[in-house]
């Protein structure tokens, strides 16, 4: 067991929380009064006037705490790495959280290779994006509020990845959902932004519903929600028949529902494109690099359970592959630069799920890591473009920016090469690993490979379409916008550059054995994560071994084929958007139906609106108006009305007319005497 520096593990989530508190105080007591309408007409001066000093403070605190968290996390990971592979697990219990009878869930953090990868990615990329945000949001009036949310997000995300039990993970899980809600709706005065935030939260909640139920099943099956206990008991219980395949399938399918909600998989992906209403760094951090990958992390974390449910694995793989190609096709027709990237993110997440579904968890996590680099970079780059163009997001109004924003162009281009899977760039290694595993794994199939490879080709196509439309060709910008085009400040370009370097070289962490083996370079990434998956599930190791049965030649051949497909996609993009720029419109005119359907994202949003939202609202309205107000209250008020009208009739006997009273007196006397008479006769 390792300790020492690891005892400071709690600082990793605590530091961002400190940032939340400090920035929160600044936001509430310094910034809020400046923003009130009563404080005068809104002016940009608020940002640079007497409030400027607090902004500097915020600009130091917010990235500072995240940077510090990164350093602490790095130190912890290094100290963890010092231990032998089998001992690389560290649990720190802070305090008991919920205890009721047999149920107990402490606030406890667990650092093992898997969570350390996540923690480093989250804090590292998070730090860069915080720095970037300082530049990007410099004109924003609610500067401190933004960083409060951003720090809060870091806190929740770190809870999610560092938790040592499912319940605490769920806390982070919902916490990031909340921050996503807050940040998407950051510009809440914009109706679409507020709507998108709500949509994200609600769709996520549908997933959380699955997660929650999965957690109940886990507790009542295993008697615990702690990872260590659950994974240790899983083989035992499955051996003695308590944990049947059906039960395992139920648990994992419910978990996958949760993962699909968070990681925007079919059918719950609809919120992610709308989430682009948030500020661009938020899209980069939450909706590309970190939060949306939580689902992948959760499945990888629960690999021990998933491997017991082959049916679920197949569902995960199929949904992953389907999402990958489905959203890639939508990406082709989008014109909003951020939406293209959003659908690309959904598609790439599909790859990660595909990897998990075929049992290649390492590959999934590896792709998660490289994707965090290049997709964050792409978003930040697009943010830089948008920043340069004074907020313009429509690619049809860009073009020829190559010279005007050189750093942005170069870094984005590197990221594009990475995502397209050009050999040598990070995306190549990770994506190819997934492709190969989906083909070779005992749970994979050639069909999955074909789908995934096709999606890779489409990805290369639309990414280069994006680059060509944005940076090459002639300018289609508004003249007014064009005048103000400028390269971004260093706070923005520096993170871009760092991420670009990572996007290029990040892949060398996990060189596939077939390539690296020849040069004696080990697959560092796999070696690092291996204890986690082997400990959790010997079966995974088994699957990996099976993959090794395939020949190296086949692997190299498939690799070359996929690169070829990617190059074809790039070539097609060049042909359509550089060489023959009139062609795309022609195609759209030729097949208006197909184009229209794809352009409208297959009308999925409209379908949900029609099939779910409107039905539910109408049904609820009916329940209220008819059932509640008419039926139940009808009975209640009806009972009251009967009493009242009966009373009204009886009341007339007491109309105040003396004769009436005398008459009832008389009637009473008649009855009374009659009764006495009757009794005397009967006796």
């Amino acid at each position: 067991m390792v300790s020492g520096i690891l005892d400071g593990l709690w600082l990793v989530p605590a530091l961002p929380l400190l940032g939340v508190v400090l920035n929160g105080i600044l936001a509430l007591f310094v910034e809020r009064p400046l923003l009130l309408p009563a404080a005068g007409p809104p002016s940009a001066a608020a940002g640079h006037g007497h409030g400027a000093s607090y902004r500097t403070l915020v600009a130091f605190i917010a990235p500072g705490v995240v940077g510090a968290a990164f350093v602490v996390a790095l130190l912890c990971v290094l100290s963890l790495a010092a231990a032998p592979p089998e001992g690389r697990i560290f649990v720190q219990v802070l305090f008991p959280w919920i205890q009721a009878g047999a149920f107990t869930a402490p606030v406890a953090f667990q650092l093992d290779p898997l969570s350390s990868v996540m923690a480093l990615v989250v804090t590292g990329v998070g730090f860069l994006i915080h720095v970037y945000s300082v530049g990007y949001m410099s004109h924003e009036r609610a500067f401190a509020r933004y960083f409060v949310y951003l720090n809060l997000f870091m806190f929740a995300m770190l809870i999610l990845v560092l938790a040592d039990n499912y319940l605490l993970m769920f806390v982070g899980w919902e916490g990031v959902g909340l921050c996503s809600y807050l940040l998407i709706g950051f510009w809440y005065e914009k109706q679409s932004a507020a709507d998108a935030g709500k949509k994200a939260f609600v769709v996520n909640r549908v997933g959380d519903f699955g997660f929650l139920l999965a957690m109940f099943l886990i507790f009542w099956t295993f008697g615990s929600v702690s990872y260590t206990e659950v994974f240790a008991k899983a083989p035992l219980l499955s051996g003695d028949g308590t944990l049947t395949t059906g039960l395992a399938t139920a648990i994992t399918l419910l978990m996958f529902l949760g993962a699909a909600g968070k990681s925007a998989q079919i059918p719950l992906y609809v919120w992610l494109p709308d989430a682009m209403e948030g500020p661009t760094p938020v899209s980069a951090l939450i909706h590309a690099a970190t939060m949306v990958t939580a689902g992948v992390y959760m499945i990888a974390r629960s690999s021990a359970l998933f491997l017991l449910a082959p049916d679920t694995m197949m569902v995960v793989a199929v949904i992953g592959a389907a999402t990958a190609i489905f959203s890639a096709t939508i990406g082709i027709c989008q014109t909003d630069i951020k939406r293209v990237l959003a659908y690309s993110t959904v598609s790439q997440l599909g790859y990660m799920f595909l990897a998990c579904g075929v049992g290649a968890f390492t590959a999934g996590i590896f792709h998660l890591t490289t994707h965090a680099f290049f997709k964050a970079l792409l978003f930040l780059g697009s943010g830089s473009v948008i920043h340069a163009l004074s907020g313009e997001q429509d690619m049809r109004k860009m073009g020829g920016l190559k010279k005007r924003v050189p750093v942005t162009f170069l870094t984005m281009f590197a990221a594009t090469l990475a995502i397209a899977g050009i050999p040598g760039f990070s995306g190549f290694f990770s994506k190819d690993e997934i492709l190969w595993k989906s083909f070779s794994s005992s749970m994979g199939s050639p069909v999955l490979w074909v789908v995934a490879a096709a999606a890779a080709g489409i990805t290369a196509f639309y990414m280069f379409r994006l680059v060509f439309l944005t940076f090459f060709g002639t300018s289609r910008m508004d003249p007014e916008v064009e005048k103000h085009v400028h390269e971004s400040p260093w706070t923005m370009t520096l993170p871009l550059s760092i991420l670009a370097v990572l996007s290029v070289i990040g892949g060398f962490l996990g060189i596939p054995a077939v390539l690296g083996g020849a040069f004696g370079v080990p697959n560092l990434f796999e070696g690092w994560l291996e204890p986690v998956f082997r400990r959790a599930a010997p079966a995974a190791a088994h699957a990996a071994e099976e993959a090794a049965h395939h020949s190296a030649a086949l692997e190299i051949g498939l690799m070359a084929l996929s690169v070829g497909i990617a190059l074809f996609g790039i070539g097609l993009a060049y042909f359509l958007y550089r060489a023959r720029t009139e062609k795309p419109d022609e195609i759209a005119r030729k097949w208006p139906t197909v184009y229209g359907v794809v352009f409208h994202k297959y009308y999925i949003d409209e379908f949900y609106e029609w099939a779910v939202v409107r039905r539910v609202v109408r049904g609820a309205d009916w329940l209220w108006q008819m059932f509640d107000a008419r039926f139940i209250d009808g009975i209640v008020d009806g009972a009251a009305d009967i009493v009242r009208s009966a009373g009204d009739r009886i009341r007339r006997l007491q109309g105040g007319i003396v004769g009436g009273y005398a008459f009832s007196l008389l009637a009473g006397a008649v009855l009374l005497v009659g009764y006495i008479l009757y009794r005397s006769i009967v006796q």
């Binding site: 509430l28 809020r32 923003l35 009130l36 309408p37 305090f95 008991p96 959280w97 919920i98 205890q99 009721a100 009878g101 047999a102 149920f103 319940l167 769920f170 806390v171 899980w173 919902e174 916490g175 909340l178 809600y181 709706g185 809440y188 005065e189 109706q191 507020a194 709507d195 935030g197 709500k198 939260f201 609600v202 909640r205 549908v206 959380d208 519903f209 929650l212 139920l213 957690m215 109940f216 099943l217 507790f219 009542w220 539910v616 609202v617 049904g619 609820a620 309205d621 329940l623 209220w624 509640d628 139940i632 209250d633 209640v636 009251a640």
Partner: protein, 523 residues
Amino acid sequence: MTGIDLLDRHLLSVLIGLPTAGAAALLFFPRDGRKAIRNAAFLVTLAEFLLSLLVVARFESGTAAMQLAESAPWLPQYGIGYLVGVDGISLWLLMLTTFIMPITILSAWSAVERHVKEFMVFMLILETAMVGVFVAIDLFLFYVFWELVLIPMYFLIGVWGGERRIYAAIKFFLYTFVGSVLMLVAILVLYFHHYAVAGFYTTDLLKLYELAIPAKLQFWLFAAFFLAFAFKVPMFPFHTWLPDAHVEAPTAGSVILAAVLLKMGTYGFLRFSMALFPAAAADFTPLIATLAVIGIVYGALVSMVQKDIKKLVAYSSVSHLGFVMLGLFAGNLQGIEGGILQMINHGVSTGALFLIVGIVYERRHTRLISEFGGLSKVVPVFAFCFMVVTLSSIGLPGTNGFVGEFLILLGAFRTHMGLTVVAASGVILAAVYMLWMFQRVMFGKVTNEENLRLRDMNGREIAYMLPLLVLVFWIGVYPQPFLRRMDATVHAFVARVEAGKRAALAEAPPGRTMFTRTFDARK
């Protein structure tokens, strides 16, 4: 020294008596001295709260017995005594009552301008009655307090309420009164049954617990108690008085109604229905759990389409109380502890929501959602509080709502899996209706000119909101102090109910449903 001793020995009686004594003292205040009246009422409730903290301090969490118990003969010839005490079930409800009272008094500071003296007197009498309900362990004493609650509440709604206050007040009164009359009949039956079996009359609850009641009789007694408590909770489909009462009641009334009065129903189920008639409770469980789940989903759906914020919150109460009922009738430790905790949570969150609504209403004199929009920009502190309370109501982890809902669903999942799946969908719906409302009120552009001049929360309002927010996070992050003090009692409770259930099963062959068993037995 002796004074302290005396206080210690009669702590609960002091808690019962203090507000009424305060009310009596208020009667001598000059009618025009509103400020003095408000201050005095606030001080009384605050003193009551501080004294009640002593109860927590003296409370031993290791035992299931009634603590700080006091007994005095009252009508000895009828076996009726003045018996009070607290255990793990009633402790936090008592605390919730004393905690929420100073807050409501503060909230009524400027909202109530008419008949301030009468208002405060009613509030204080109400507090006595509510405290009495939770600490009484004599059936007769309980009934007296139970009915006493109705009177001040009736006036609070009927006098200081909104436009349709008379309708709402009468509906509230009659609805709950119908139930309590049935309960009275059941109490009398129980009373005479005890005499027939044990040979002496008593209304001492602890003695009645030991009474073996035949399953057939249990069925009818449970049914009578069920109606009384189901009306109060209110369970679907007996809930329609709630939206009316809430909407028409003044803010302080709504807060007390939501925070404490509804809990009297759920508390009654726990303390009386389930504990006295375990076999019947087992028979009724499927029915009640189903109604609870219908209530959860139904309340949520109906909330969604409300146009009036207060009505929305009222319907959300139906949904939340459905969770509580589901937890109680899960019949296991997790469910019941979750249920009790959720009672507190609902008191805190929904109480706070009503205060929030009250704050806007006081400024704009409307509660229609369509009248608002974009308030976030104008009233930031308010927005912050509203956000936290909304999230707590949704049950976001880290806030109190989550801990309660989680434990309830966890417990209920064991016993009613299918129903719990449906109930868990209420979690989704809660997000839909609360966030939608929040968005329509707080987000977007300020479309209504009047909203631009809205004042943010003032010091007094922040002062009464703050303790609620603290509690939201406290229970959310560290619920142990609350849960631990329930453990022993709930353990014993579950054991007793289980034993009772087994005894009844031994009496009638298993596999019979509630109705067949009851009606077969009559042949």
